[in-house]
């Protein structure tokens, strides 16, 4: 397979393939972070996670149209504004959903799963009614498309770099929030002992709602970023759910580091296998490996051993 190539060519291609793996890793991190926050804190699996992402994508679509129509001069920068709005829109919907649905179901995690699945169907239909069944084309500022030549042969896509920077920034932001802010302290306190946290005056209901909202908001930002690499349509969110859930579950509940490590290992495995095998078989093998490991180590990669 490699006989006809010089070492430098091979080196360049492997470097780019490594980079492709890193992009996939960033995509997985972005997909999974929001869900990991929610799952880690509340043990709730939000089946509508993909639809929250797509909401962010549609917000980005709307913003791109607004900027193109009213502020063409600023179009190059619209993406940043769009991400903020995506966070706010998905976050606000998240707050509402927590208030209307989730809070009634904390004691029944499996039922949350079903209720949020119902929610995802409703959101899909709303997107279809509002934006049409067809995919919408989100125009991306020119500076974000194209690639950056690092050497003569190695080129890296700019949107890939952008996604990576975003993944790092958001992970860092979430880490700050979880481990450096008052909210984070409350979240962790509730996680460890809800009754006691309640007793010492933490507003557990509000903290839960905020957590859910932030998790959904992060999903919205992810969706916004994915307009650069994927499609935006009513059912596009469903493409992400299996991968997202597996990343989170594989990482282990309640562990930010676990989510990141799991995103890294799954993305690298998939990326390497994709290079040597057909795409479909690579996917099947990756999923099987993850499920296989989960069977041996059901608690995921990283979990704190706690006294129950």
């Amino acid at each position: 397979m490699f006989a006809d190539y010089s070492m430098s060519e091979l080196g360049a291609i492997f470097a780019m393939q490594g980079f492709a793996g890193l992009i996939l890793f960033s995509v997985f991190v972005l997909m999974a972070l929001g869900l990991a926050i929610i799952f880690g804190q509340m043990g709730v699996i939000n089946m509508a996670h993909g639809e929250f992402m797509i909401l962010g994508a549609y917000v980005t679509y709307i913003m791109s149209n607004i900027f193109a129509d009213y502020m063409p001069a600023l179009f190059g920068m619209y993406f940043f504004v769009a991400m903020i709005f995506a966070f706010l829109a998905s976050g606000a919907l998240g707050l509402f959903v927590e208030w209307a649905l989730i809070r009634h179901l904390y004691k029944r995690p499996l039922d949350t799963l079903l209720a949020t699945w119902g929610l995802s169907l409703i959101l899909q239909q709303i997107y279809r009614s509002v934006f049409g069944a067809r995919e919408v084309g989100v125009s991306i500022p020119d500076w974000m498309m194209g690639s950056l030549p690092l050497t003569d042969m190695i080129e890296v896509p700019i949107n890939g770099i952008f996604v990576m920077i975003l993944a790092v920034t958001i992970s860092f932001g979430v880490w700050i929030m979880m481990y450096r802010s008052k909210w984070g302290k409350q979240v962790r306190a509730i996680n460890q002992n809800r009754v006691m946290a309640d007793a010492v005056g933490i507003n557990t209901a509000w903290t839960d709602r905020l957590t859910f909202g932030i998790g959904c908001g992060v999903a919205g930002v992810a969706g916004s970023a994915f307009t650069m690499i994927g499609s935006t349509g009513p059912t596009a969110g469903q493409l992400y759910i299996v991968d997202t859930f597996l990343v989170v579950v594989f990482g282990g509940a309640g562990s930010l580091l676990g989510t990141i490590a799991s995103a890294f290992s799954i993305s690298q495995a998939q990326s390497i296998m994709e290079f040597f095998l057909s795409g479909s078989m690579a996917k099947v093998l990756t999923l099987l490996t993850v499920v296989g490991i989960l069977m041996i180590r059901p608690q995921g990669l990283f979990t704190l051993k706690l006294r129950k």
Binding site: L304, K305, L306, R307
Partner: protein, 249 residues
Amino acid sequence: MNVPNERFILKVEGLTVSFDGFKAVDDLSFYVEPNECRVIIGPNGAGKTTVLDLICGRTRATSGSVTFKDKELLTMREDQIVHAGVGRKFQTPSVYEDLTVFENLELSYPKGHGVFGALAFRRDDKVRDRIQEIAETIFLEDLLEEKAAFLSHGQKQWLEIGMLLIQDPELLMLDEPVAGMSVAERKKTAELLKRIIEDRSVIVIEHDMGFVADIATRVTVLHQGKTLSEGSMERVQSDPKVIEVYLGH
């Protein structure tokens, strides 16, 4: 400390468990004789419940050994440990709330424990008689058809004890059996316990010193996962180390 010999029914030796570096139980050893009632006391966080969890297989030990009648328990599954003759009652009453008292007891009846055994299990007179007998022991004979969810806290504790009794274990482990009970219930329970510990070995975790003095053959005081003191109630109560832990600081 005593040298182990064959007269002990339970031997705990060098038992250690650590949770992410924190040693909840640290190189603990103790021995229980047949028909002994051993009470474990100690301040909160001393590792009392963890010791019971380790013996009955609920938590996996990091190192050490627990032998019950010459069987190593640490490598056995929970249900195998039960079949070996060890019964365990939890701190909070754990009964099946959606089932009736009768059904709760019936499920604990030591027959039909395999999948197909359970399918073929029939409620014959022998089963009924035994359940009736146990129900009388635990003061619930009038409530057999009541759902467990409707029982009072104390009644649930009794029911759980009854569920253990019906298995007739050789070693019974009780975690705070009188906690959260009214005075009347507590009295009844003490009476019940005294009756059922007569012909078996028992390990009890308890805080109520009056109650402990009443039932204990020997007392083990745990502190930070280690044995602080061991012996008769009087000896333990006069041990300066114990006094310091309970009253000091």
